[in-house]
Symmetry: C2
Subunit: 178 residues, 2 copies
């Protein structure tokens, strides 16, 4: 589903990949849409857990934490031959217009992800790492969105260049003190 998208992945493929019988699937999920929605929750849980490992590191400044999060995702994509992209970005693109239930869930997911960056940007602002003039919440959404756009280009370029360029524009332009 991460690679092929939601609509292009059949329940049978999911069952085969997980090695569980059909009956078990319907014990846990009402239908395929319900499964998709729970995948989003699962990923947001993973994202929170993953980022918490970094945000709790006392040796890093708030801005360094943001960079570390993005660097580690970039390493993941490098190890996967620049495939997959972000489940939340992918599903927003694919399902945002097709299912109100997905749209609502994905909006929450984007809010949660941006919320983590917004908190770090507020801390960075309090420490004078980024300009006073920046709105931490708006900048957090821009980091998430422009990252999703960079991941789209990464899939086509099959290189780390789009992600590196994203980091450069975010850190050297948008968040730069001047």
């Amino acid at each position: 589903m991460h690679l092929k998208g939601f609509n292009h992945t059949g329940i049978q493929e999911i069952l085969d990949a997980a090695g569980v019988p059909k009956g078990s699937f319907y014990n846990y999920f009402k239908n395929k849409e319900d499964f998709g929605l729970q995948v989003i929750d699962y990923f947001v849980g993973y994202f929170s857990f993953f980022t918490e490992g970094i945000t709790s590191e006392r040796s890093l400044s708030p801005l360094e934490k943001i960079r570390r999060i993005l660097d580690q995702f970039a390493s993941f994509f490098e190890s996967k031959d620049y495939a997959y992209g972000c489940p939340v970005g992918n599903l927003s693109q694919e399902m945002g217009d097709l299912s109100p239930a997905f749209r609502e869930k994905l909006k929450e997911a984007l809010d949660a992800m941006a919320g983590i960056y917004a908190q770090l940007l507020k801390e960075a602002q309090a420490r004078g790492e980024i300009p006073e003039s920046i709105d931490p919440t708006e900048a957090a959404y821009f980091i998430v969105s422009s990252w999703h756009g960079a991941l789209i280009r990464m899939k086509v370029e099959k290189s780390s260049e789009p992600l590196k360029s994203h980091l450069k524009f975010i850190f050297d332009y948008v968040l730069k003190r001047r």
Copy 2:
């Protein structure tokens, strides 16, 4: 296909929407993939034609032309209840990992779109509208990519806010003279 994606749209739906019989389809297209690739060419042709109407306007500065292009696309999405997104961004996300033929064609499409912005940014730089320090080509790709990311969030938010915020960060931060 623009709304539902490539894999989720059947040839029969395309035939029904176009009002042509199956035989005609196979007169023009080898198969569904060939059709998809020609859709990308068609859109890039449209994008070039559309932007040429703006880039040829003598009353606008190069930077104003970029803003006009993005503003007009934003008006289009507003009229479509913030659905659809960019065909090239959508297909890159959906097909970049699934088909080498799509990947190659989409890479060309992204290059063509970024090329138009790069040319305008070079002109803007020559006129002192943007800083000397910016690489026009890299900034052009960032405009395209971060726009694709903003379109993803637009689909979920169903508002113009992601696109407006994109313009703000591009023009007030990335391209700002200081």
